[in-house]
Amino acid sequence: MENRPLEYDYTVAKMFMFTTIALGIVGMLIGVILAFELAFPGVNTILGQGLAEFTNYSRLRPLHTDAVIFGFTLSGIWATWYYVGQRVLKVSMAESGFLMFIGKLHFVLYMVVVVAVVASLFLGITTSKEYAEFEWPIDIAVVVVWVLFGVSIFGLIGIRREKSLYISIWYYIATFLGIAMLYLFNNMEIPTMLATNAAGESGIGNWWHSVSMYAGTNDALVEWWYGHNAVAFGFTVPIVAMIYYFLPKESGQAIYSYKLSLLSFWGLMFVYLWAGGHHLLYSTVPDWMQTMGSIFSVILILPSWGSAINMLLTMKGEWQQVAASPLIKFMVLGSTFYMFSTLEGPIQAIKSVNAIAHFTDWIVGHVHDGTLGWVGFMIMAALYHMAPRVFKREIYSKSLMVSQFWIQTLGVVLYFTSMWIAGITQGMMWRAHDEFGNLAYSFIDTVTVLHPYYAIRGVGGLLYLVGFLMFAYNIYKTMSARPVEESELQNASPMGA
């Protein structure tokens, strides 16, 4: 008995794997619809005039961002947490009835929140703040879900056998603390039904409506401190947690440098929070805050590239694996996109560049080379690695994975190149003056010129969605593929033809 490996319990991990895929399809499908609405406005009324209120661009836009952030990505983070956590702490969920209960409750309440969010955003119930659109009743439910996640993290840590916390655990802890702090402060709001008037009336108007505790410039400052760092602690920190576990596992290579991971982790923690000000350059926020945002964004290259280089050097001497395994392909290209995106971001945060880039599609392109190329690829790679271990079956098809990889890579490239051109074109046209000092273009000129790029972007997004459906199909078929033995599950994941 002594030498038998621990049996881990993946019940909760499986649940979140399922929602990662389901909400990924929903979020990306809405994204593709939005892209085509911009290219071909007729798509806004695709389900007829009667339903136009619910299918038009502006009503769907927060649904897309929230479905991919809080649906796809968050589910992916939790699916990997309930898998990685047990394995690096050397303890099974099955050992604690309490933690198992918390895990399941976590999932069930999360589902309730998802349904409430979808319904409320379709109805236009929103606070308007980006990535914080939920009204106060949902905010309270989100806090409860988040606390359950925290109980799960620290509960599992509390009963761990491996005393030293592995790097991935650092990043999961940081995800929990970072989002908790940001979400609480950004969503400070007062429900308007609490007001009473001189006539003694109370509970007036809609019960779900609230008003922000902060006004104007302050509200913007808190929102972008949140918005930028929700990216930090949702799209960067937990995804780094994943790659620190899954890349060494899949490749059989040890992490290149412990010191580099230390520098990257603590550097990222300290620097990232300052950079939110780069969303507010040339706004009414005080100049020194804007400058701080700009400077720290550039410094942020160091810890970001530290992690990415650490990952790429982990593959040192084993580069043939990139050619041989589609799973390694996803992770290596993912870290490359991470480097790319974390260089592009600081460039856009330089004030003179931002003057052109802000408010344009270049920003949209930047977000998507990070999310599609880094976050999406890494989460799919993690699920591919987990599938054989969770279902005890080989991955259904390797060739399908390879095709998916190339289709999605082409999609991402089409997406960001078209958005770069669109963004810089528009930014330059807005500021162009003729020889007499008058504006050279009316606003609509700068919209119609973007049509071809919007169409190309739509195609890029569609390719990525097609690849994601191939991923979903591959995972689905994996559940009925050839069973594998424990001994086949050492490093490289077993894959069918």
Binding site: E37, P41, N44, Q49, A52, N56, Y57, R61, P62, G124, S128, F154, S164, L165, W170, I173, A174, L177, G178, I190, T192, A195, N197, A198, A199, E201, I204, G205, N206, H209, V211, S212, A215, G216, T217, N218, D219, A220, L221, L273, W274, G276, H279, Y282, S283, T284, V285, P286, M292, A355, F359, T360, V364, W430, A432, L439, F443, I444, V447, T448
Partner: protein
């Protein structure tokens, strides 16, 4: 030190929290009181304007339109004076937006009229050929939520001392009083009186009839809000 921290999760978590909280304390808090002081000429929103602001938010107009004029010649030429912090003193939430798929609306009330908005919301590409903005026809049918706007006015005047029913200094040296109803009935009456002024400039017969019957379609509230953006 790091090896020790990695074996002591509690202290590790405290260390992480202090490291990430530091920037917020230094960067965000110091300016809080100063940034929210209104400039002269900025008045709180009336009940109908606030209801219109809710329509603006409900339809995520801020997903495509900014309300922030940056201090560049090209922007002040196109949209008017660059934004000042105090102009946003009564904006809860702020609506700066992050993407200009359509033009900035910070001062749209200076150069667009009720009539223009009515035509434009029904058929954007009919007014601006080549426009990719969808039509917002349901705004002509759905009714604006005056009660919720009124509840918000009560809330901000109680919690944040927003000056309703008090003189507010204007740029020309005069003062302006933005009224807030003492009861829900009075608030609705005030909003309706304002709506009648807007509806008088509109052509849509259904909207005119609704307002004559004491109802306020969302489009009327939205136009009142956009006319107030100056």
């Amino acid at each position: 030190m790091f090896h020790w921290l990695e074996k002591h999760p509690f202290f590790f978590a405290v260390g992480v929290f202090v490291t990430i909280a530091f920037a917020g304390l230094v960067e965000i808090l110091p300016n809080f009181a100063q940034a929210s002081r209104p400039v002269i000429g900025t008045a709180p929103y009336s009940t109908l304007e606030l209801a219109g602001r809710h329509v603006y938010i409900k339809n995520s107009c801020n997903a495509c339109h900014s309300q922030l004029v940056r201090p560049f010649k090209s922007e002040t030429d196109r949209y008017g004076h660059y934004s000042l912090s105090g102009e946003y003193a009564y904006d809860r939430p702020f609506l700066w937006g992050s993407k200009r798929t359509g033009p900035d609306l910070m001062r749209v009330g200076n150069y667009r009229t009720t009539d223009w908005h009515e035509n434009h919301m029904k058929s954007p590409s009919g007014v601006v050929p080549g426009s990719i903005m969808p039509a917002y026809t349901w705004l002509f049918k759905n009714k604006a939520d005056i009660n919720t706007a009124y509840a918000e006015q009560l809330t901000v005047s109680q919690f944040f001392s927003t000056p309703y029913n008090k003189p507010v200094p204007m740029k020309d040296g005069s003062t302006k009083i933005v009224k807030m109803g003492a009861s829900t009935a009075e608030a609705n009456a005030l909003a309706l009186a304002e709506a009648k002024v807007i509806a008088a400039d509109m052509k849509d017969q259904d909207v005119k009839d609704a307002v004559a019957n004491g109802q306020i379609p969302e489009i009327v509230a939205l136009i009142a809000y956009m006319n107030s953006l100056k």
